[in-house]
Every structure is written in structure tokens, then in C-alpha cells.
């Protein structure tokens, strides 16, 4: 519908919308996160949910203790290799539409523990990440910023057509293989269908 006509109508007291806008409006204003934290970043996530920063202003205050009721996984903290299969399993148990925020340097790339033998070098090796929030730790405002970025993304998602959101593509996977504990590392060490970093050419 034409934007001008819509605002003209609303001035006359007629509210016109589309199913897509209504769906996205509802979806983006009640993003319920899964209630779990992995390391120090979780403290900032908790701070964001308390009165001072009050994530409730953005409709995301209902931290759910069950993945079955959650829309958003905030990977807040260091993902150790021992924990990674559980994180992937929790993601698989969440119903669609589901989103992932990688909060902090650890969840993005291993952060300060990148050279450690026991830390996963970024959760996007196993699950698709929608928003990355850099920082060590990111402050609560940064988490809110990341949440708003996710809301914007949800607001623009399509329900039909070839470019529709992942949750509406029947063939797109909603679950990803859970890595196994191997003798030296996780097996596989990354999901190569998902994790395709751009080739980097060193210039020296």
C-alpha cells in the first residue's frame, strides 16, 4: 500500500496495514530471550535486564528458562568446546522464528582465549548468527543497540517471495548438527555448510 495513502487514511481514523507488517510488529516487540549465560558477558546481559537499562522497554524482558518458549538466543560469553554441543542443542530446540545474538569477543571469535585449546573460536561455526556485538564485555547499551539492530532486521523481513525470512523457507534448515566430543577437538570442528569465512589474502 502506498505510504501517502496510508498516512492519509490514518489521519481520518482508519488504520490500514498488511499481514506482514502486523506479523513483524508483533514479532519484533516481544523477542523473548533464552535465559542462559556463559561467562562474564552474561553479567552485562543481566545488567541490561535490570531497572537501570531495562530491556523491557524493547519487549525483551521475558527471559525464558526453556528453549521451547524462546525466540532469541543471546550467546553471552565464552563458549568452551565442552559447552558448544549443548548450545547447539538448545538452538535446535527453539521454535522458529529464532534469532541469535553473539555477544562479546568470545562468542564472536574466542576473544581473549582465542589461542586456548578449550575455547570455541566463535559460535557462528555451528549456528547462524544474526547480530554480532563486539566488546569485552559489550556494555548493556551495546546489547540494547544490538537488540534494536535485530528489531530493524525483523521489521524488514518478508513473509513470502524468494527473499522471505529463513523461518518461512521450507528447505532452509532449522536445526544444525550437534558436534561430538572427539579425542583432540570437536568433531566436526566447524559446520562447513554454515561457516564460510571470506578468503583473506595476507599482504606481506
Amino acid at each position: 500500500m502506498d505510504e501517502g495513502l496510508r498516512s492519509e487514511l490514518s489521519r481520518q481514523g482508519i488504520f490500514a496495514t498488511t499481514i506482514q507488517d502486523l506479523y513483524n510488529w508483533g514479532c519484533r516487540n516481544s523477542i523473548w530471550p533464552l535465559n542462559f549465560g556463559l561467562a562474564c558477558c552474561a553479567i552485562e546481559m543481566i545488567a541490561a535486564s535490570m531497572a537501570r537499562f531495562d530491556i523491557a522497554r524493547f519487549g525483551a524482558e521475558v527471559f525464558r528458562p526453556s528453549p521451547r518458549q524462546a525466540d532469541l538466543m543471546i550467546v553471552a560469553g565464552t563458549v568452551t568446546k565442552k559447552m558448544a554441543p549443548q548450545v547447539v542443542r538448545l538452538y535446535n530446540q527453539m521454535p522458529e522464528p529464532k534469532y541469535v545474538i553473539a555477544m562479546g569477543a568470545c562468542a564472536i571469535s574466542g576473544g581473549p582465549f582465542k589461542r586456548g585449546y578449550n575455547v570455541l573460536k566463535g559460535i557462528d561455526r555451528y549456528v547462524p548468527v544474526d547480530v554480532h556485538i563486539p566488546g569485552c564485555p559489550p556494555c548493556p547499551e551495546a546489547l540494547l543497540h544490538g537488540l534494536i539492530a535485530l528489531q530493524k532486521e525483523i521489521a524488514s523481513q518478508k513473509l513470502t517471495g524468494p527473499s522471505r525470512a529463513r523461518a518461512f523457507q521450507e528447505e532452509a534448515p532449522g536445526e544444525f548438527p550437534v558436534p561430538e566430543y572427539g579425542p583432540y577437538d570437536l568433531v566436526p570442528a566447524k559446520n562447513t555448510d554454515l561457516w564460510r569465512p571470506k578468503p583473506i589474502i595476507r599482504d606481506e
Partner: protein, 211 residues
């Protein structure tokens, strides 16, 4: 508290044939430690805990140390007869000292408010005889820390009630805190590679010229 020498002589008097050794420490705090043979470590530990003058009732810390094989150079003067004349040579011989693992215990007394007394147990080698005696029966607080030393260093504590890995997963097959541990090649990008990381970066991101 008594000095380590006094503790040593009292221990040896109480447990005949124990064979203790005092390991000096050249670093600034200079904390010397007692090396006990694993075969009789339990007896020594019981004595340290129950003796009224020591009463070391609290084991605050158990850690592992990995000593690699090393080569010691020994200089000696030898006399040899060459062409009927005696000549003195400086000779340098190399001796290989096999590596071993150590479990180090820090003991305090809550009752008498003193400590630490540091106790060490040494394994025979790093490979097939990496065994010491668990002191968990004497100090309960050693249980998880001995599991950790087992997990990360591969020190086997005999007599431990529940010797399983504690930090790494059960299927893990290596000992990550050993000095010769090779970490898995599990990340690609390093913004400022140097030394051995440079080699790794080169493997992942060849320069166009060598690609």
C-alpha cells in the same frame, strides 16, 4: 612454625626409611619444599596433618608441574696419556636427564594459623610411569584438584576415589598443560601473527606469491 629442616628430621624420625629431600627454590620468595617418595606419601601426609605441633589440616592447593627431558652438561678434567706424556684435558660430557611430572601440595594449618608447607611428589617419568599417591584420603579438599592435575597433566593419582577428567570431556585423549602439547589447528585468522603463529597463518592464508 618449625623450619623445613626440623620438619624433615622429625618426619624421618617418625617414619624410618622415608627418604625425604629438600628442594630449594632460587626465586625471590625462596620457598623451599619437601620432596616425598610417592610410595610412602600417605604416611608422611598423615604425620603432617596429625602431628600436634604442625597440625597441617588444610590443603589449599594442588598443582601439577611438567619437567621435560633435559640435557645437562658436565665438565670434568681428565688426564690422558698421549705419546707417552700425560696431558690434562677439559672434557664436556652431556647427560640426558629424563623428564618427570610433579604434584605440588600447599599445606596450611587452620588451627595453628601457619603455613605453607610445600610437599612434592615426583613421577618416575612422563610416559608410562606417571603415577603418584593420592592424598585425598588425608585431605578431602585435594579431590577435585587432583582430578584437575590428572586431566591437564596426566598425573595418575593412585588411591583417588574418583579419578576422572574434570575440565575436558571424557573422550579427550591428551594433556593440554604439558609443555609438549600441540593444540588443535582450530582458528584461521590472526590479525598480528608472529613466530610460530606466522607459520600457521601462512598455512591458512598463503601469500599470493607462494600460493
Amino acid at each position: 612454625m618449625e623450619t623445613l629442616e626440623q620438619i624433615k628430621s622429625r618426619l624421618e624420625a617418625a617414619i624410618p626409611g622415608l627418604g625425604l629431600e629438600i628442594q630449594c627454590n632460587g626465586a625471590v620468595p625462596g620457598q623451599a619444599s619437601l620432596v616425598v617418595p610417592p610410595a610412602r606419601a600417605i604416611e608422611a601426609a598423615r604425620f603432617l596433618r596429625d602431628d600436634p605441633r604442625l597440625a597441617l589440616d588444610y590443603c589449599s592447593n594442588v598443582s601439577g608441574v611438567d619437567w621435560l627431558d633435559r640435557v645437562v652438561e658436565e665438565h670434568a678434567r681428565v688426564t690422558r696419556v698421549i705419546d707417552g706424556r700425560e696431558r690434562v684435558f677439559d672434557e664436556c660430557r652431556e647427560r640426558r636427564v629424563p623428564g618427570y611430572l610433579e604434584a605440588v601440595y600447599h599445606l596450611y594449618s587452620m588451627r595453628l594459623k601457619h603455613g605453607p608447607v610445600i610437599l612434592r611428589q615426583r613421577t618416575v617419568n612422563r610416559v608410562d610411569q606417571a603415577r603418584v599417591t593420592s592424598l585425598t584420603p588425608v585431605w578431602r579438599s585435594a579431590e577435585f584438584q587432583e582430578r584437575e592435575a590428572y586431566d591437564l597433566f596426566g598425573i595418575v593419582f593412585e588411591g583417588h576415589p574418583d579419578l576422572r577428567r574434570i575440565l575436558m570431556w571424557d573422550e579427550f585423549r591428551d594433556y593440554p598443560m604439558r609443555k609438549d602439547y600441540v593444540e588443535p589447528d582450530d582458528y584461521e585468522y590472526e590479525p598480528t601473527p608472529h613466530d610460530d603463529l606466522k607459520e600457521k597463518a601462512r598455512r591458512h592464508y598463503p601469500i599470493e606469491a607462494d600460493a
